[in-house]
Structures are given as structure tokens and as C-alpha cells.
């Protein structure tokens, strides 16, 4: 009986210490999210969302790029269904990340935690977990993900409530923070693969053309641009590279 208690408490300590290690590892993500999350809060307010809606956006969706896209589309008067379809297409990449995680997780010992673990998957935490030295234990991953989550949701609410206190010049500069986050996600990938770089450029140019032509609504523009560029990238540009990567 005593042994049992001891075992239980060491396991518990283990869980906590791994969770804490994950939190420490996510510090760069935590810090990097803050200006972007504050910008999201600010922008949501100027788009006319209520505080509750803004909070729910970050707390329930937790996928930054698509949240900004949604704000743009709401502002442009897009239909809810267009926004949801665009979000689905855009966030479907998590499917690959999650498949990858399910293959590398050491053991499926805590299945009740998996919904939480999957909810917390983001590009940033996944990028970290893809590095070879990162721990793949569930408790560690949860620490990593939810520290980022707290930063994202906290930053969003802070931005909504207090963003206006910031000097206008800083607010204007922070309008660019989101795009620099996208660039920070894209450049390391593009550096390693020319076809990824070309695909991104095609995506940008296609979207620019569609936005300029104004044939479709903004909601469809971005969906079309993503699908066109990804198809060209996957089926025309990408030839031999896949073999060397796998």
C-alpha cells in the first residue's frame, strides 16, 4: 500500500515535471505569440466583434492564421459558409501534423488526453516537435501546447481591452506583426525546398490577381488561390523532391 502511494506520487511528479519542461521549451512561442495575439484582439475590436466573441475565437478555434483570415472576410462581408470552408481548407494541414504525431507518440497510454493534445496542435508547436531533440512524451507536448494557448488567449483579450492604450504608431507597426509571423513560418520551409518557395509565390500572386480582378468574393478568392497554388506545387512543380524527403 505504501509502495503504491509512493509510486503514484513519483509518477505524478514525473507528469508535472515533464509538463513544466514543455512549458519552458515553449517560451519562444509564448513570447512570439504575444504581439500577434494583441494585434488579433485589436483588429477584432475594430472589426466590430464583442469581447466575448473575440475571446471565443481564440479560445475555441486556436488557429491564428485562419482567425485573421476570418476577420478579413467578416470585414469584407463574406458569408459564414465561405469563411468556414476557407478555414477548413486552410487548417486541414493539421491533419498531416496530427498523423505524424500519432506515429511518433511513444505509447497511447493516456487516451483521454489525446483530444486536448490534438486541440493544441499548431504550426509553431509542431515545428518544435519535429526537431529531433524534442521530447515526444504526452505530458511534455501538453506543456508546450498549453503554454502557447495561454499566451494566445491572454494576448487576445489584452489586445481587445488595452490595445487602444498603445501609441498609434506602435499599433500601426503591430498591424504588420501577423505578416511577419507568416513569413517566419514560411521562410524556413522555403529555404529547404525550392518547390515550396515557388508554391508560396504562386499563392501570393494568384491571390493578388484575384483580389484585383474582383470576379469572386474575397472568401472564394483565398480558397481558389490556395487550391490553385497547392495543386500546381504538388502536381506540376514537385517531381523528384518527394523521394529524397522520405
Amino acid at each position: 500500500m505504501e509502495e503504491d502511494i509512493e509510486e503514484y506520487s513519483t509518477e505524478r511528479k514525473d507528469t508535472l515535471s515533464k509538463f513544466r519542461e514543455g512549458m519552458i521549451a515553449s517560451l519562444p512561442i509564448f513570447i512570439g505569440y504575444i504581439p500577434v495575439a494583441v494585434t488579433f484582439g485589436l483588429l477584432a475590436k475594430s472589426t466590430g466583434l464583442t469581447l466575448l466573441e473575440t475571446f471565443l475565437f481564440s479560445a475555441l478555434v486556436f488557429a491564428g492564421a485562419s482567425q485573421f483570415m476570418a476577420l478579413q472576410l467578416i470585414q469584407g462581408g463574406a458569408e459564414p459558409i465561405q469563411i468556414i470552408v476557407a478555414t477548413f481548407i486552410m487548417n486541414f494541414r493539421h491533419f498531416l501534423m496530427s498523423s505524424h504525431l500519432s506515429a511518433i507518440l511513444p505509447a497511447k497510454e493516456k487516451p483521454w488526453l489525446l483530444p486536448f493534445l490534438s486541440f493544441g496542435i499548431t504550426d509553431e508547436s509542431f515545428a518544435y516537435l519535429s526537431t529531433s531533440h524534442a521530447s515526444k512524451e504526452v505530458d511534455f507536448i501538453l506543456g508546450l501546447e498549453y503554454s502557447a494557448y495561454v499566451s494566445w488567449v491572454g494576448g487576445t483579450v489584452t489586445g481587445y481591452l488595452f490595445g487602444n492604450i498603445l501609441p498609434p504608431i506602435l499599433q500601426a507597426s503591430m498591424g504588420l506583426a501577423l505578416y511577419t509571423l507568416f513569413i517566419a513560418l514560411l521562410v524556413p520551409e522555403a529555404k529547404r525546398s525550392l518547390s515550396v518557395a515557388i508554391t508560396a509565390v504562386i499563392g501570393g500572386l494568384t491571390h493578388s490577381c484575384l483580389a484585383w480582378l474582383k470576379i469572386f468574393s474575397p472568401g472564394w478568392n483565398i480558397i481558389l488561390a490556395i487550391l490553385i497554388a497547392a495543386s500546381i506545387g504538388a502536381w506540376i512543380i514537385d517531381e523528384e523532391e518527394e523521394e529524397t524527403n522520405e
Binding site: 512570439g32 466583434l49 466573441e53 471565443l56 475555441l60 478555434v61 492564421a65 476570418a70 478579413q72 467578416i74 459564414p80 459558409i81 469563411i83 468556414i84 477548413f88 481548407i89 486552410m90 487548417n91 494541414r93 493539421h94 491533419f95 498523423s99 500519432s102 507518440l105 490534438s118 504550426d123 504608431i169 500601426a172 507597426s173 503591430m174 504588420l176 506583426a177 501577423l178 505578416y179 511577419t180 507568416f182 513569413i183 517566419a184 513560418l185 521562410v187 524556413p188 520551409e189 508554391t199 508560396a200 509565390v201 499563392g203 501570393g204 491571390h207 493578388s208 483580389a211 484585383w212 483565398i222 488561390a225 490553385i228 497554388a229 497547392a230 495543386s231 506545387g233 502536381w235 514537385d238
Partner: protein, 102 residues
């Protein structure tokens, strides 16, 4: 009300692809052409999100935006650290805006 609808819808379509592969436990067999397409969706989406939005991110001051974007590209090329990239670019944008008399 529409916004809540959007949020709930987005939550559902974002959560399902995140959870499905872990729920299925085994490695799902995705056909290769589809896998290829999925690999390219993210860069395509990032490209479409950056352009044309970034150019007009700071109305009337495209040069300041360009300075910030250039900083982000250079910084993320050499140091793959998101927080550093975001902060440096915001600072460079701030300084440029100040110099351009914002």
C-alpha cells in the same frame, strides 16, 4: 449571432482534422497524390495570406511595411526563431514609420 455561428463552425472544421488521426490510432493511409497536395497547402496558404495583405497592412506607408517585411525575411532566413523575427520586424517598422513622419 452570425459571428458565433462562424466561430463554432470554424472550431468544428479545425478540430476534426487535428483529432482524427490520433483517434484512429493507426497511421491512416492517405493516397500519395493527396498527401503531396496536403504538403503544399500550407505554403500556398501562407503565400496567399502574405500577398496582397502585407503591402497594405499599414495604409499610406507601404515603404515602412516593406522595411518590416524585408527584416522578417532576412531574420527568419538566418535565425529560425519566431519571437525574434516578429519583434525585430515590428521594431524596424516602428522606426521606419517614425522616420517617414507617421
Amino acid at each position: 449571432m452570425n459571428n458565433i455561428k462562424i466561430i463554432i463552425g470554424m472550431m468544428i472544421v479545425t478540430f476534426i482534422p487535428r483529432y482524427l488521426p490520433l483517434l484512429a490510432f493507426s497511421r491512416l493511409n492517405i493516397p500519395k497524390p493527396l498527401k503531396k497536395l496536403l504538403r503544399y497547402i500550407f505554403p500556398a496558404a501562407l503565400g496567399a495570406l502574405i500577398l496582397p495583405g502585407a503591402i497594405t497592412a499599414i495604409p499610406n506607408y507601404p515603404a515602412a511595411a516593406a522595411a518590416g517585411i524585408a527584416t522578417a525575411i532576412v531574420c527568419s532566413w538566418f535565425r529560425e526563431e519566431i519571437s525574434l523575427t516578429v519583434f525585430l520586424s515590428v521594431i524596424v517598422t516602428l522606426i521606419s514609420l517614425y522616420l517617414f513622419g507617421y
